[in-house]
Subunit: 397 residues, 2 copies
């Protein structure tokens, strides 16, 4: 009962806060249909639509399986309805003025048009910037889930230590990581907000020359995948002695995503690898030092650039040539790509309660690529890593 | 060189056919940004935009990594451009009249609005029904890929035979399947067209009472998942002797999805299972017999219903009570949910070259659920299964 009351309280707080920001921004209401937004606000990703009206209790419409929705959702008022007509009727009864919010960055155009028809000539506007800003600050429960998500990386690391060897193919090694993560409780899917992004649940794995082949939707170390149908992640390339191998993954525990990466060497480390890892550690530490409440979201990136300059690796930082990223990290939560973006020019102020992935990399066709990524929690006086795994180059013999 | 010429020829045919249907439907052009549509038309899912104008050569804009796009795409005219302005200029040069097609069922509303602004006051319309109809008929290369995709199921079946035992948890068994599929060459991700659908790469796994708990976005046997964050697929329930276990999966080989399911029993089969499997086999055979060129897409479903009535299992066919599906299958291809839908009321004519998943199930809280699913190829005189795995209840001792 206590756990359940705590759960109800936390979703009530999230719903009430979202209602407040909608009201402040002049919205009459928001209709939430995106499963990740539903999960954050109500506690379930079952197929539903949710009506949030500032100052009114939320109304949840179960598109099907009403019994499961009533069991899982922390919302009192649940009706069974496939469409949005009951929401239009509720708004008409309440007589509230102003635009209707939808997640226009996610919801397909045809669905937005259909919703717009249901609500007459009411203006439709994007609620996502408001909700994403709210979601950037995690509550205690979310921090606990994210801590556990980060803990899943141990299973991937164990698989790397056990199975990395000359002759194994990238996708065979990825298979062992997939097995380890799923056994450890990974949900088996990684969620992005970006409509055209996806990632295998075991994340990216790249080795040797594939470390410097930047491919697919993500900037920086991506791997090349099994085919042009999904041109990133593990390929069928076989590892060779002396190769570097990077794994980088979204770790989904109960809907929350940690994000971590480490670099391994097969049998022996290339000569310059130790120096490059040291530079990455310095860049990571500099980024963490700059991650303080009130600093702009660009600060960790600028600090990492300076550290790379001091270590003479700036020309390889986050890519090389024309394909360079000017960022060092991003928020994580119920989606892997949350606010803030830790990148050049970003002004969103960092704040306590943010959980951020910080991911300095060096990439070059000369040596391939190396990556250290950790997920950190921003506190009142600075940021702390959620994993205690050493940030070293792991040589697997 | 031969392989490459054949590849260029097949994409040229697809592009030209799509241009023709666009022209016939009165479109000035289509802008293709959805990675699955891009992969089908050009051969790569790299981040691109594609302009298709009826009767004109296609123009591909690489959003980044132009070198990889030029290497992978079977399109001659490739430019480097992040946005759509070059397409607007091309259309203005050509002076073509009519609406501009976008994939409005997939592309987010905000992106469609932005595109609309770039193209001035040109009407925007949905190209997806046209392309999905074209994609319903597979060419020889696609059929070969789908045959290989179906072959991936052998790895899942082998994992089930090796690891099914009392005491193993659903997610631990799923982990072994995930490993086997990835080692066998599964791309590690399953693609849906539906914006809010997703599936773990190792598919659904449900056992015992979870077989009759219908949850999440898919009708019929779903499993309940690890948490309400992703409420379908394997849970942490541990198998018991005498349990039934269903696995149902999208099998992604080089971007093409087979779809197969089988039912297993732990140690011994429940008394009525043999009769239920026999009924499912009869329903499957009846649906395949009804899958003939020219028949409406409802015919396989109606035939399966009649077979279930004859076997006395109609009350459990595709669900029970209020949660019943009135379908027996669907097309598969570069997405798992393609045309046609084999369901009540569907009038699309079946045709040679279609590849269809046929999936009769019986579900009830009395016995749980059983499922036989196979992917079939429609030929001139009927349909053939792409897998030779027996459609039986596998008792794993």
């Amino acid at each position: 009962m206590l756990a359940s009351a705590e759960r109800a309280g936390r979703h009530a707080r999230r719903l009430s806060a979202f209602g407040d920001v909608l009201g402040d921004a002049g919205f009459a209401a928001a209709v939430v249909s995106h499963p990740r937004d539903l999960f954050y606000l109500t506690g379930t990703a079952q197929p539903c639509n949710l009506l949030v009206v500032p100052g009114e209790p939320p109304l949840l419409a179960a598109r099907r399986y009403g019994d499961l929705v009533r069991e899982q959702a922390a919302v009192d008022d649940v009706i069974d309805a496939a469409g949005l007509r009951p929401f239009a009727e509720r708004l008409a009864e309440l007589g509230v003025e102003g635009p209707l919010g939808l997640a226009l960055d996610v919801v397909p155009a045809a669905l937005a048009t259909k919703a717009s028809t249901t609500f007459g000539d009411r203006e439709i506007a994007d609620y996502s910037p408001l909700l994403m800003e709210q979601r950037a600050i995690k509550d205690e429960h979310e921090i606990e889930q994210l801590r556990r998500a980060v803990g899943l990386f141990d299973a991937a690391h164990a698989a790397m230590l056990e199975h990395t060897r000359p002759g194994i193919a990238e996708h065979e090694l990825s298979a062992e990581i997939a097995r380890g993560l799923r056994r450890a409780g990974h949900e088996g899917h990684v969620f992005y907000r970006r409509w055209d992004a996806n990632l295998q649940p075991e994340g990216l794995l790249a080795s040797g020359p594939n470390l410097a082949r930047i491919s697919g939707h993500a900037i920086t170390i991506t791997g090349v995948g099994m085919s042009p149908a999904l041109p990133f992640g593990a390929s069928d390339r076989r590892l060779e002695r002396g190769d570097l191998v990077v794994i980088d993954m979204g770790l989904n525990y109960r809907g929350y995503h940690g994000d971590m990466a480490r670099t391994y060497a097969v049998g022996e480390a290339p000569a310059r690898a130790a120096g490059l890892i040291e530079a990455l550690r310095a860049a990571f530490d500099a980024a963490v030092d700059a991650t303080r409440p009130g600093a702009p979201a660009s600060a960790p990136y600028e600090a990492a650039v300076r550290a790379c300059e001091e270590h003479g690796v700036a020309q390889w930082f986050q890519g090389y040539g024309a394909d360079r990223g000017s960022y060092v990290g991003h928020g994580v939560g119920v989606e892997l790509d949350e606010l803030p973006l830790l990148a050049a020019g970003q002004t969103m102020p960092l704040a306590a309660g943010m959980v951020l992935a910080i991911e300095p990399k060096v990439i070059s066709p000369e040596f391939g690529g190396l990556d250290i990524e950790d997920t950190v929690l921003v506190g009142e006086s600075g940021a702390e890593r959620l994993s205690s795994l050493p940030q070293e180059l792991f040589v697997v013999r």
